[in-house]
């Protein structure tokens, strides 16, 4: 997701969830979401077998 996609996602998501994204915090929210997007892209590149389940709350 590039910066334009991030900005569009923020507009849509904030409107849908009722979150207060304003000119005063927009830059910080976008920077943080962009950082998450970069990490998500790395995670997306990991090869996983289809049967690998999400961990969620686990008790060892």
């Amino acid at each position: 997701m590039d910066r334009i996609g991030i900005e569009a996602w923020i507009d849509a998501g904030a409107a849908m969830l009722g979150l207060p994204v304003t000119p005063s915090n927009r830059q910080q929210v976008a920077d943080n979401l962009e950082r998450l997007a970069a990490i998500a892209a790395r995670l997306d590149a990991v090869e996983l077998e289809p049967e690998v389940e999400p961990l969620q709350v686990f008790v060892r």
Partner: protein, 466 residues
């Protein structure tokens, strides 16, 4: 430096607690560790212990008369549970907790005495305790520097000798970071080992609670007292208690006996300054004189951190969605935009992170086929100054607030038990991580105890607080 000021022989438990309260009143203004001091409750409890002893009760418990305090996200009967926030205090109809958190109940049943609640990063999202609402917590070794976080008050209160031990929580490093920057021991147990009942959550799939203390024995005593299943926490194990104090031996060689120990390289050296590496060198040199130390490579450390980063932001953002909508302006400026971005994370990112995490944990667990203990730096650097936005690691600049967890997050993401052990050195404190296999907290405590016996690890109270 001096040894612990509270460990001088008291004439009674009430005298000891009165001295503790006086110590807090005198020294806390310099560090801002406490958000509430429970003088009346503590003195009543101390007098009750003295009365029980006078009545012939043989043993009050292994923690008899030991003063402790808790991060202010633990429920304390009669107090509003702040979790470092202004919002919880101001919430319409905000009620004081009706009962204590499970951990507090168990520690008091073992004879310890709760003396207060401690400063933290709002909703535990931070490594610095630069709390805008209650003020920054300051490092007792240099009050211009960070105490670490999010359990910063816990690290500072223990380091300054104001309590014998404190409770913190560790989602991504929030016990190990303040323990390292403030120079105390700290234990993050195996995920699910200790009950989180009656504590304010942050990230359900990563949250743990644990103690910070100035000696390994005190750390183990507090840990042992808190063990056991608890219906208040669905993430708490049903395993039987496995006390650790009895596993601690009288000499360092015995504490190391039978343990296959390795030093972690790769990510854990690349993301560490020379000061952090030197602390690890000192620990390995001392242990190496008694026991062989192998080298080991942690698989995909950065990937583990990535998983933790996404899961933390998304779970935290979802947990605080309503306050983001309606009380955004009352939230901590240092973290509210990270929460907000996390609330906007697509579900597919979070689902993917938890699936990668499953595969990551399986790979990490293979390390324990060849090793029982893994050693690594706990933090990249010494305590930064309060307000510093950047830290430098091997010539690269990193944002200070998230980067203090660079070395802790890969370990906690795998749910492993870790002891932070502060290494003796000139200058500011810094700790190493002693990492054990799942459910093997006692092994990590034994190695930390060996380092303490060898004179390498110690948590002396700074002279100004003696």
């Amino acid at each position: 430096m001096s040894t612990a000021p509270l460990d001088t022989a008291p004439t009674s438990t009430a005298d000891r607690i009165a001295a503790t309260l006086a110590h807090i009143a005198r020294h806390d203004p310099a560090v801002n560790a406490f958000t509430e001091v429970l003088g009346e409750r503590a003195m009543n409890r101390a007098r009750a212990i003295d009365a029980a002893r006078a009545a012939g009760e043989a043993s009050i418990g292994p923690l008899e008369g030991m003063p402790f305090a808790v991060k202010n996200l633990f429920d304390v009967a009669g107090l509003v549970t702040l979790a470092g926030s202004r919002i919880e205090r101001e919430r319409p109809g905000a009620a004081a907790a009706a009962s204590d958190a499970t951990a507090i109940t168990r520690l008091e049943a073992a004879g310890a005495i709760l003396v207060g609640a401690l400063n933290m990063d709002e909703y535990a999202y931070g490594f610095t305790t630069e709390n805008t609402h209650y003020g920054a917590c300051r490092n007792p070794h240099d009050p211009t520097r960070l105490a670490g976080g999010s359990s910063g008050g816990s690290g500072a209160a223990v380091a300054a000798g104001m309590v014998a031990f404190a409770l913190g929580t560790d989602t991504n490093g929030s016990i190990r970071v303040p323990a390292s920057l403030c120079g105390t021991f700290g234990l993050r147990p195996t995920f699910g080992r200790l009950s989180r009942g009656g504590s304010f959550p942050f990230v359900f799939s990563l949250d743990t609670i644990g103690p910070l203390a100035r000696t390994v024995r005190d750390l183990a005593l507090a840990y042992d007292a808190m063990q056991g299943p608890d219906p208040r926490d669905p993430g708490c194990t049903q395993r039987a208690r496995e006390p650790a104090v009895g596993a601690l031996c009288a000499d360092p060689a015995a504490n190391l006996e039978g343990l296959r120990i390795a030093r972690l390289g790769g990510w854990f050296e690349e993301m560490a300054t020379p000061a952090a590496v030197a602390a690890l060198d000192a620990a390995c040199t001392a242990i190496g004189a008694l026991s062989p130390i192998a080298s080991a490579d942690w698989p995909d450390a950065e990937l583990g951190r990535d998983c933790a980063f996404v899961v933390t932001a998304a779970e935290g953002g979802a947990l605080h969605l309503d306050d983001l909508r309606h009380r955004y302006d009352a939230m901590e400026p240092h973290s509210r935009d990270r929460f907000l971005a996390g609330a906007l994370a697509p579900a597919a990112w979070v689902h993917r992170a938890q699936r990668v995490r499953r595969a990551y944990v399986a790979r990490v667990d293979t390390l324990f086929a060849d090793h029982d203990i893994l050693l690594a730096p706990a933090v990249p650097c010494e305590a930064p100054h309060i307000g510093d936005d950047w830290i430098e690691i091997r010539g690269r600049r990193f944002p200070s607030r998230p980067s203090l967890g660079l070395l802790t997050q890969p370990v906690s993401c795998a749910g492993l038990p870790v002891v932070a052990a502060p290494i003796r050195r000139d200058g500011l404190p810094i700790a190493i991580q002693v990492i054990a296999a799942p459910w093997r907290e006692a092994d990590a405590l034994r190695v930390a105890r060996a380092l303490e016996q060898l004179g390498v690890a110690a948590a002396p109270v700074p002279v100004a607080f003696a």
